[in-house]
Symmetry: C2
Subunit: 514 residues, 2 copies
């Protein structure tokens, strides 16, 4: 195994588990090449009846064998039953070495850890969060896991880097043809776009539903023409944990201040005065507060946004209905008002990672967003961002859309300078998720740093009363307050690759010495 | 060149113009195999500005060379300007041997004949109608043309049988990213689904619009992530000829009777009493009359249709709004009320040939339609259907959706027994478009014949007061009235292949001796 230094200075093996790796070359150095996957050609004559009476029958039909790759999506979040049900079925069948390719995992999937330990699951490709990430950090997976952003996952499936043998798509509403969406039913989750790639490219596609309706079910986020089997189960998930009743703005004074600063950065840089103003903000407490502040500024200035990218919440829906934003382009609904909105308001657009995030396409939506506000666990003096590991080395989060969204016109990281006694501005991030060249502004409660590469932003903020500082100044404040954090100790083994959205490797995660 | 007899008894060459051919094996004998095309992988970094200031600039960008294949769609019908504009530009550039792959052609495209004669156009793959078909019959194309159904065209593009170098998609509304639809603007045509395959699989995709709107244009039938260039032109077409003000029911007593018989067949067979009643009917005068009669019967019996497949018209929209049908699943809007409906009624679904017609998919919509009423130029004693040539041998019509739709649960051919002095029931059709095994009922003004293969339908119609006859009896009536038609005389040369929806060749068309 030869180690190669990539464009952000991390040492990347040239291969792992027999698979060749490409080191990260820079955010915009990859120009594609080669061909997308051509999925198998099937004929309608073999799809006269797709209904399976049980999940077992569907698993049988997919002919799942040891070592195969199986996928599911995370739109049901912490309320998902399907992921765990599948693994239990695989275990009952004595299957081994299954590669899981979920779009993300949640605390509910902690139940999978024992199947990692006993070898039913070999490793994870796609995303890991919480307990399963912890198991990865402890070296419990048979092979190196691959973490990908939402756009990177679509790209990997489309390009053939991630071949899915069987995709199980939890569908809150579906018809016997397999037309499916997330919009209606007891397990409604709104958008269902994270499973689009799976439906297009997996060898076998199973739609699993607790809400079978007569053909045609519309909208058909997942199209029946791509679906092999339709399987009814009693319950897909726990509605209380699929979407919140309502999401709540942070009450932390520090986070409120961060959100307000972020909104003022958008105002004072003049971004919102340019044509086609648009932005992305998520569903965390700080992001919701950002929506509140930016909304107030937009009202004051009479500015409207051409579009806003979700995760969507009541706060965003209210802005849509007020006319402050023309369209929500959404990949995930976080609360009940958002689910209702996407199912009834034609200006609340259901999106997918191809349209929003895919680097290997002829343009995506984030590059048309003028600004985005994102959270992070660490940012370093080179503006590199870490959203995957904590400073103690534990792998606890997936990439989400981070590496995709950071390509927006002005990417603002909103993060408290300190979380307890741990600084978020560090000399060098524990893990690089996204390169510094795409990080434009860091907003903390104790000051704001603009990336020196963005001379235009620095120029535009002259005269602003925002507490502008250099990243080194912010780092010094953090050190003064919290001291230097202890570095984690690692074993030699690489347990996970952080794959950049273009398919190159931007960093690795090592097994923790415990 | 070896000739092989196919499953409907026609002699098919094993190859033509150096291309291997597969003879038709039966309507449901093909089970797919192999892989779909994997289009080239591109990267967003190369798509920062897609706007071209002229059609010339877009043509330059596509780097079109002699012998390349260029496509456009027919949603603008007889009002289309783009097809002719393109060919004129190609001629100005001295290009030769361009293969055209339109989804259909209209009388307006007669202007292309001179470019066929002077070698700018080599031949046509996809569909031909009217003057261009006539040029084909006269042997003016350099190579054998290939006629495909709408679903067959999608399949051929998806499977790689038809590689499109550059697709020019006339878009009544589009944004600078290339998100496009047919729903709005001076050239509004409603649905834009016939160009979906082109957008997904062509090497270069150009959206041409006379109505550029700010990003995001939604709905995005054509997704910007698949579009290379966006080109503005002054006018895409003549609105008066793109959609009719209103479409009109036939006034011919014979055709009204045919339509009424067809509706009574649907009633008396009990098809409409089964669960999930659904049907397809087109936009011709007889089809509109069928809608009127079937609507009256549905009202009388209190039956609702789960869905109806368009081409859509005011008559169909009225039934949707009345609640007689739950959904229109539409591939083409024929009049202004239909265009308005698809843009505002979420139960009027914009479809595409993948969803509706593709044989090489995991099921499509026509096999879920309980019945369909279709026109034809000839039907023979084996129930084979011809929609392409007339009895005098002239190739004058594309296949349209015929070979796809004939796979519905009960396919009813509604045709006058005589057109002038020409019989539509013949001993053996001039050209086989669709095999007899998929033709269930022939309805004429002088009697109705049920395919003897459909014993279930024959049984269900016992006791009906419909004028049931054998196909031989209908043929005899036609001969008694009109005599035997003169057979056309042909040269040896095959000028067109009739490709079945699965990619096999069901018949050929020969050059006419004139």
């Amino acid at each position: 195994m030869k180690m190669i230094r990539n464009a952000v200075g991390r040492m990347i093996p040239d291969e792992i588990d027999g698979k060749k790796l490409k080191p990260f070359m820079g955010a915009h150095e990859d120009h594609g090449g080669g061909s997308k996957v051509g999925p198998p050609i099937r004929a309608i004559v073999d799809y006269k009846d797709k209904l399976c009476s049980s999940l077992d029958e569907a698993i049988d039909a997919c002919n799942i064998k040891n070592g195969m790759t199986v996928s599911f999506h995370h739109h049901l979040r912490d309320g998902d039953y399907l992921g765990n049900m599948l693994i239990e079925k695989f275990a009952e069948r004595g299957l081994k070495d299954i590669v899981l390719a979920p779009s993300a995992l949640f605390p509910v999937h902690e139940a999978m850890v024992k199947y990692i330990e006993n070898g039913v699951i070999s490793h994870i490709e796609g995303s890991m969060n919480g307990a399963v990430g912890r198991a990865c950090s402890l070296g419990k997976m048979k092979k190196a896991c691959v973490l990908r952003s939402h756009g990177g996952r679509y790209r990997a499936i489309q390009d053939g880097d991630l071949h899915i043998d069987a995709a199980f798509i939890a569908a809150p509403v579906a018809d016997p043809h397999g037309n499916a969406s997330g919009q209606l039913g007891p397990s409604a989750c709104g958008v269902l776009g994270y499973s689009l790639a799976d439906s297009l490219y997996a060898d076998h596609v199973v739609v699993v539903t607790d809400n079978l309706v007569p053909f045609p079910n519309y909208p058909w986020t997942i199209r029946g023409g791509n679906v092999d089997y339709v399987c009814q189960v009693e319950k897909l998930g726990d509605p209380e944990k699929i979407v919140s009743g309502t999401t709540r703005i942070t009450r932390s004074p520090a986070r409120l201040l961060i959100a307000e600063y972020a909104a003022r950065v958008v105002r004072d840089t003049g971004i919102m005065d340019e044509p086609n103003f648009s932005f992305q903000a998520g569903a965390g407490g700080t992001s919701l507060a950002f929506l509140k502040y930016i909304g107030a500024i937009m009202r004051e200035k009479g500015v409207k946004a051409d579009f806003v990218r979700g995760g969507s919440t009541k706060y965003m829906v209210d802005m849509l209905e007020e006319g402050l934003i023309k369209f929500i382009v959404d990949l995930q609904c976080f609360d009940i008002p958002a689910v209702e909105s996407v199912s009834k308001n034609p200006r609340h657009i259901e999106s997918d990672p191809f349209t929003s995030y895919n680097y290997h396409s002829k343009g995506n939506l984030v590059t048309r967003a003028k600004t985005a506000v994102l959270g992070a666990t660490e940012v370093d003096l080179d503006f590199n961002v870490n959203v995957n590991t904590h400073s103690d080395g534990w792998l606890l989060h997936g990439i989400g859309g981070f590496a995709d969204v950071s390509d927006s016109g002005c990417t603002i990281i909103a993060a408290p300078l300190l979380r307890g006694r741990v600084a978020s501005i560090v000399d060098s991030v524990t893990t690089i998720t996204s390169p510094g060249e795409l990080t434009d502004v860091i907003v903390t409660e104790r000051g704001i740093a603009v990336n020196p590469r963005r001379e235009d932003l620095i120029e535009s903020l002259k005269g602003s009363d925002l507490p502008l500082k250099s990243i080194e100044e912010l780092r010094q404040i953090a050190v003064d307050l919290a001291g230097q954090a202890e570095k984690p100790e690692y074993e030699d083994r690489i347990v996970a690759l952080i794959e950049y959205r273009d398919g190159t490797v931007i960093d690795t995660v090592k097994q923790l010495k415990v």
